[in-house]
């Protein structure tokens, strides 16, 4: 008996999840990806790995200077 009850419970969970997913609001891909592009372009200047550092001095992982004050 348990296996049948288990089966039923599992299938019920799967169907309920699909019902919830079917009920969500979706937006057209054009709009969704335009918003992503906007977010990226708004933040590109803060992205050091993308645009680099204004000067290597501000790079916390720059090579240590080879000359030192004696």
């Amino acid at each position: 008996m348990d296996i049948f009850a288990n089966n039923l419970q599992q299938q019920r969970a799967v169907t309920e999840q699909l019902r919830r997913e079917a009920a969500i609001q979706r937006m057209p891909v054009t709009q969704a990806v335009s918003d992503i592009i906007k977010y990226v372009t708004d933040h590109e200047q803060e992205d050091c790995l993308l645009v680099g550092f204004s000067s290597q001095k501000v790079n916390p992982f720059r090579e240590k200077s080879t000359c030192s004050i004696l």
Partner: protein, 353 residues
């Protein structure tokens, strides 16, 4: 009612639920296709190409005696915790490459490690099926203050503090995720739905912090509501295990990396895949992905020892980072976006900036 009747009754119900599930799946696919009016790379055509990226290897962290399996940046943008197959957890000063703490875990294969939100504790676990939290203090031996918070019925593959030091979220080979109270060790919420090992989790970047994404060997990525423990959205498309998932910094999309040698971008609001990052020449699996702070770049660590850097908008590869001498198992952009850490089966971690 007789047993036979009950069985009939229950199998009727199962059959009708399965039928409904099939029609819902079809409806979902139709709805998604209806709104699929353009591709991301078409809209991104007007953007300038990324012509040059100046990312160089800056540090090598040597000290693990076996494969590096996971690493995490401290919120202070300077320290890194890493875990290894040798059963060790090391806390590094990434600036100086010094080891500040080395902890020996009771079991080998420490598959995951994570800094708490405050940076005052780290969590880790793996083949021991457990998640253990260590407070970081100036004491010599911090292992005396360790605390076992939760236990899964199979290996723990990933852990993260989703909003504060008080709660920890874990993913496991037992195909579930779980939210634990650090202080009491109480299981606050458990997340059932995957039909394969959970390999990766990532909380949404939004302040509200009520959702997270999981990726699994069942090839699916799920978006979960932490309060209800329900799956809110599910994404399929990968042909093999998903090893890594990461939210886009906007919070509106997720990236996945898979054994099928592709990375993909799924948009939450369009509820579908909007980009695939792959090349014919790339045939090795992806173990780890992360975005640069703007979300323009996606870093992906592969089994062929390389890191590929993708332009997420134009779906083109920008460059390759060579250096590791074995599989790249983990990578992460630092919290301020200034550096990338990578960990490898070659026993080392490297910092790129």
């Amino acid at each position: 009612m007789s047993d036979a009747n009950q069985v009939n009754n229950s199998s009727d119900k199962v059959a009708s639920l399965m039928k409904e599930a099939e029609s819902l799946k079809q409806k979902l696919e139709e709805e998604r296709q209806k709104l699929n009016d353009v591709t991301l790379s078409t809209i991104a055509e007007r953007l300038e190409m990324i012509s040059y990226i100046n990312i160089k290897p800056r540090r090598i962290l040597k000290g693990h005696q076996a494969k590096v399996l996971c690493s995490d940046w401290s919120p202070d943008k300077r320290h890194i915790v890493s875990s290894s197959q040798d059963g060790k957890l090391i806390i590094w000063d990434a600036f100086s490459t010094n080891k500040e703490h080395a902890l020996t875990m009771p079991a080998t294969w420490v598959m995951s490690c994570s800094y708490s939100t405050s940076g005052n504790a780290v969590a880790c676990g793996g083949l021991d099926n457990k998640v253990t939290v260590y407070p970081i203090t100036s004491e010599e031996d911090i292992s005396s203050r360790k605390k076992t918070v939760g236990t899964h019925t199979s290996y723990m593959s990933c852990c993260v503090f989703p909003n504060s030091d008080q709660q920890i979220l874990t993913g496991s080979g037992d195909s579930t995720c779980a939210l634990w109270d650090v202080e009491s060790g109480q299981l606050l919420q458990s997340f059932h739905g995957h039909s394969g090992d959970v390999m990766a989790i990532n909380p949404a970047p939004n302040e509200v912090g009520n959702t997270f994404v999981s990726g699994s060997c069942d090839k699916m990525a799920f978006i979960w509501d932490m309060r209800t423990s329900h799956v809110v959205q599910s994404f399929e498309g990968h042909q093999s295990d998903i090893n890594s998932v990461k939210f886009h910094p906007s919070g509106d999309a997720i990236a996945t990396g898979s054994d099928d040698s592709t990375c993909r971008l799924f948009d939450l609001r369009a509820d579908k895949e909007v980009a695939t990052y792959s090349k014919e020449s790339i045939i090795f699996g992806v173990n780890s992905v992360d975005f640069s702070v703007s979300g323009r770049l996606l870093f992906a660590g592969y089994n062929d020892y390389t890191v590929n850097v993708w332009d997420t908008l134009k779906s083109q590869r920008v460059c390759l980072l060579y250096g590791h001498e074995n599989k790249v198992s983990c990578l992460q952009v630092s919290p301020d976006g200034c550096a990338l850490s990578t960990g490898s089966w070659d026993f080392t971690l490297r910092i790129w900036a």
